[in-house]
Amino acid sequence: MHEYSLVEALVRRVEEEAARRGATAIHAVRVSLGELSGVDAELFRTAWETFRAGTGCARAELALAPVAAAWSCTACGAAIPRGAVLRCAGCGAPGRLSERADALLLESIEMEVP
């Protein structure tokens, strides 16, 4: 389970950004979580609840936005159905994964500045 080390990295980065901007409070942290990011949303949330106590994120809401994975043909753009072989049924070219479907991104932070 690597969600704890990811949350640790997230909290540190948020605290760093808040300090840089002289924030007095952090209200929300928005994260997008790709279906193929290798991260489980529930575990991530549990790790967040455990880890944020005593940090600058203690009162911040975690907003997790799921990003679904979709495959399409690299040549003709045709959609490849879920669960199918990742080759275009029409032209035989290999598939390409949709953007951000394999990423775990810190999208934005809502903070209070004096």
Partner: protein
């Protein structure tokens, strides 16, 4: 301060970042990669479940390259058994004991290089923690990911762990010598891989009998040909941590 009416209340500011949470790891991985390329070392990250045969493949690889210098770091939660096995097979190795960590990250690999004569190597194997989940998302600075999947693990393993197999530049189907004793069809494993990876590269081999090891050797040689012998990358502004 609130700029609308000047009331003195704090202002709520949205800060847009859109950055990877693993950006810090990726920076260290890029640093490792620059080091490896500069020294002309082909670094391979070998992943797979516990018991998939990672160490056995490396033991059998030791004799394939008589003219080259091989080295490895081998990660386990506890014990240095695998590193010792590799040493006995003739591959200078260092153990990384990760404790509770279920994967290697770029910093652990970086630290393991200190005091290890990796610059003199031609092939450097990073044997990851046996795990089909966590190691997949950490870039270590390798040139390629190799995932070992033993034929005993079930035909649908790639469908159950798509993130790991999607990261594989090469899948080694290990323990091929056991096929006569199993109800496993290799074509079904290949089919499962083709559903998580657009262009799967697959080699069927047995470390025990040596079957398929020539093809594995050929794959490594082809990869090695892409790493220039002494690629001097400019490392201006390069700060060495730790």
């Amino acid at each position: 301060m609130c700029t609308t009416c000047g009331c003195g209340d704090a202002e709520l500011v949205p800060v847009e970042l859109h950055e990877k949470i693993l950006a810090g790891n990726d920076r260290t991985a890029a640093h490792n990669r620059a080091h490896f390329r500069e020294a002309g070392v082909l670094a391979l990250n070998l992943m797979g479940s516990p018991g998939s045969g990672k160490t056995a493949v490396l033991e059998a690889t030791a004799g394939l390259f008589p003219g080259l210098a091989l080295g490895a770091v081998s990660a386990d939660l506890a014990t240095d058994h695998d590193a010792r096995r590799l040493e006995r097979a003739g591959i200078p190795s260092r153990a990384i004991t990760t404790g509770q960590a279920c994967h290697l990250d770029a910093e652990m690999v970086h630290r393991s290089l200190h005091g290890f004569p990796w610059q003199a190597l031609d092939l450097f194997f990073i044997e990851n923690v046996g795990n089909l989940v966590c190691p997949a998302i950490y870039d270590l600075g390798q040139e390629a990911n190799v995932v070992a999947l033993s034929v005993t693990e079930g035909e649908d393993k790639p469908l159950k762990y798509p993130v790991m197999f999607q990261k594989a530049d090469l899948v080694l189907l290990t323990k091929a010598d056991l096929l006569p004793h199993l109800d496993v069809e290799v074509d079904r494993i290949r089919d499962a891989l083709a559903r998580v990876l657009p262009e799967p590269q697959v080699l069927l081999l047995s470390a025990r009998t040596g079957a398929g090891m020539e093809a594995w050797k050929g794959w490594i040689e082809a990869r090695r040909a892409r790493v220039p012998a002494k690629l001097r990358l400019p490392l201006a502004g390069h700060v060495h941590r730790g």
